[in-house]
Symmetry: C2
Subunit: 426 residues, 2 copies
């Protein structure tokens, strides 16, 4: 595959025009949409309108005139289309970590008390998920058990109350089989809680078809909602109205404007709301959601996310092929090669876990090729992480990114001191 | 007092120029800054800059180049100046309800187990605070006991673990003596948790001087941070590094970028951070905080908030005097007349709790005089609530608001059907 092949693929790409939905910085090839999605072209004007009109002019009246109260559900209905959920099953609110606390608390409340005292997860799950689970387990008398992905099915014993997994691993890009693992969990009497942070807007997700129990996810990665944008919560309808989450703020009350001193949870997933939400941030999130929903018209009969998934796999295939062809023996592929096990990112380790991962990422960033670095430990290698968002990336971007990677290595540019200095935030 | 007197008071008002910091809608007299503060003039451009430059251009690099990671503390240091706290003692994050959950959890963790099993609060405390406390008490094996304000000192018995109060009551505008009640609580072995939602930016608060234990507050009322803006948390330094809050997300980790699977809380109040914060909303909040801090230059030797407090009391005095002079026998004053017991709002009930409170508020809103209505129950009357923010209100505004009130009553305008229809959000 050469540059001309890539240009031809771009010319044939039915999704190519979707890139115009975004304001991409000049000279940047952005391979970090799995960490922070790019700015939708519609967002600045919409945000300015919410600020000037809804806040500035409408003031407190905007709760009624701009329907602020409906925003978490209205946006939730849009997210639902991307994750195999139905209208009324999702709300957009708070942060991913806080939403995980809510659903995990509810799941533990419904776990059979006494006999099942284990929450099972993956050692390389996203750390903040593990921190939340660790705290809740200590508080509620459960044990958090961390194992490797391939050990999961055998570990679904009668001691386990909840299986808590991130669908696509943030480090490796490996994707779990949600339907099979949920079925295995249920067969063992275990509830399945899924974090969709690296899935929503990136890969097809079928929550109801997988019969999952609870799910949460992030608004600012593949959903392009802006830095720190509100997250989302989905709860299966068989649980949503039955169990309580403990962050029982006014917005989750059955009748919040009665101002009664006692809490009565709203029916359904609305009880997963808590306090007042950042309205401007919700408006930005809606712009981001609309950029992903714009791809629905290409999905034909294959359902939501089909066209995006096809392109995403073609992009990551191309990146893997080019890296392996042009930087032979330099990197080890961390991300699964099989399509059904791969998310929308490609992670590389240095061959033999040699030095350079951090500095190569910094050298690429200096050239405008923005990926990121994730440090390893005694059990996991340092990785170079590259996210591929098919909404705004093309095959020529992939070719150019690899060309920069080749140059960074061949010129030993990555050895420069400035690329080996640690940043405050990595 | 007549219109000329009011105009003269405005001409002599040293704070009058602070109004230019805001974009106020034409034809509006805004008496609801206790519910949602107005738009700072600096906010639209600052928000647009964060959206276009920090998100759009900087993308993920802005964590370092725009210091996003420092925002909760940097803004917290600004809040600290308004509430009698020191640098490093406050963070801006999440919602008021979620922050209350965190601090109340920490307070209950440190309460002597076994003997003290009661959380004491006021029956008319803000409902969402009671909902959070109700949930936590059930979960942690405590009882939430609600009484009237005047019964509080006698109720500080050896069964009580935590006294949880809102400093200025959202319904009545009555202000507690924080220092005296905290001292009474401590003398009885009880921790004091304060909600400053209607205090921060509205009245002087002296957390350290009062020796309070925990405090939380709202960013979008008197701090003008925008709808659903992040809230804040303060924890006394004697507790901050000692107890854990359960929403243990990555941002509260001692070393978040090591991505270790186990949680280790950050030292001090930083452990009260959880997940990723809405960066655009934090930027808006900073604009709001700066509008209040702009009043510091008028404070002389009396400390932060002194000049604002002097004007606030003069405004509420004027409103009370004008209502009583011009609408005799029509209303009962719900807010305390004594300065040391009054926040920055004035609440009225209908004399004899007669009808009309809701409709009069709606008729005033239609005339551009924006206050709000809070429904009563068997123990509390319906109220008309008017907040007075000295940053952007003057004495002529007070006079005109009362003039509209007089007209709404004298013409019986409030009896019109459109003013008696319930809104979705009240």
């Amino acid at each position: 595959m050469n540059l001309d092949d890539c240009k031809r693929l771009d010319a044939q790409d039915p999704l190519a025009a979707l890139r115009d939905q975004f304001l991409l910085p000049e000279g940047v090839i952005y391979l970090d949409g799995n960490s922070l999605g790019v700015l939708p072209r519609a967002a600045p004007a919409r945000i300015a309108e919410v600020v000037a009109k809804e806040w500035g002019e409408g003031l407190i009246r905007s709760w009624n005139t701009a329907n602020w109260f409906d925003l978490p559900q209205r946006l939730g209905d849009k997210v639902a289309r991307l994750i195999g959920a139905a209208r009324g099953e999702v709300v957009c609110t708070d942060s991913t970590s806080i939403n995980l606390y809510k659903v995990l608390f509810a799941a533990l409340s419904q776990a059979k008390t006494g006999s099942r005292r284990v929450v099972l997860s993956e050692r390389s799950n996203f750390p903040t998920d593990l921190y939340i689970a660790e705290s809740l387990c200590r508080e509620r008398g459960f044990t958090l058990k961390l194992i490797e992905a391939d050990e999961l099915p055998a570990a679904l014993t009668e001691e386990v109350a909840v299986l808590m997994l991130t669908h696509v691993n943030y480090r490796t890009g490996a994707m779990h089989d949600m339907k099979a693992l949920t079925a295995a969990a249920h067969a063992a009497g275990v509830l399945a809680v899924w974090d969709l942070a690296h899935s929503a807007g990136a890969v097809p997700v079928a929550l109801n078809d997988s019969d999952a129990d609870y799910a949460i996810g992030c608004g600012y990665k593949y959903l392009n909602g802006g830095p720190g944008s509100p997250a989302f919560v989905w709860v299966h309808t068989r649980h949503a109205g039955r169990f309580e989450q403990p962050l029982s703020g006014w917005w989750g009350h059955a009748a919040p404007f009665e101002f009664t001193p006692h809490y009565r949870p709203a029916p359904g997933v609305a009880r997963y709301l808590c306090g007042t939400q950042p309205i401007v941030a919700l408006a930005a999130l809606e712009c981001g959601l609309d950029t992903v929903l714009a791809a629905e018209r290409f999905d034909g009969t294959n359902g939501s996310m089909a066209a995006l998934r096809t392109k995403s796999l073609a992009l990551t295939d191309a990146f893997i092929a080019l890296v392996e062809a042009r930087c032979p023996d330099r990197f080890a592929l961390v991300t699964p090669r099989e399509h059904h096990r791969r998310g929308s990112q490609v992670c590389l380790a240095m061959s033999g876990n040699g030095p350079g991962a951090y500095a190569i990422v910094q050298a690429l960033i200096a050239r405008g090729v923005i990926g990121d670095f994730r440090a390893g430990d005694s059990q996991m290698p340092d990785i170079l992480r590259f996210g591929f968002t098919p909404l705004y990336l093309g095959f020529e971007d992939v070719w150019r990114a690899v060309e920069h990677l080749v140059q960074v290595i061949e010129t030993e540019e990555w050895q420069r001191p400035e690329f080996n200095r640690k940043m405050a935030v990595t």
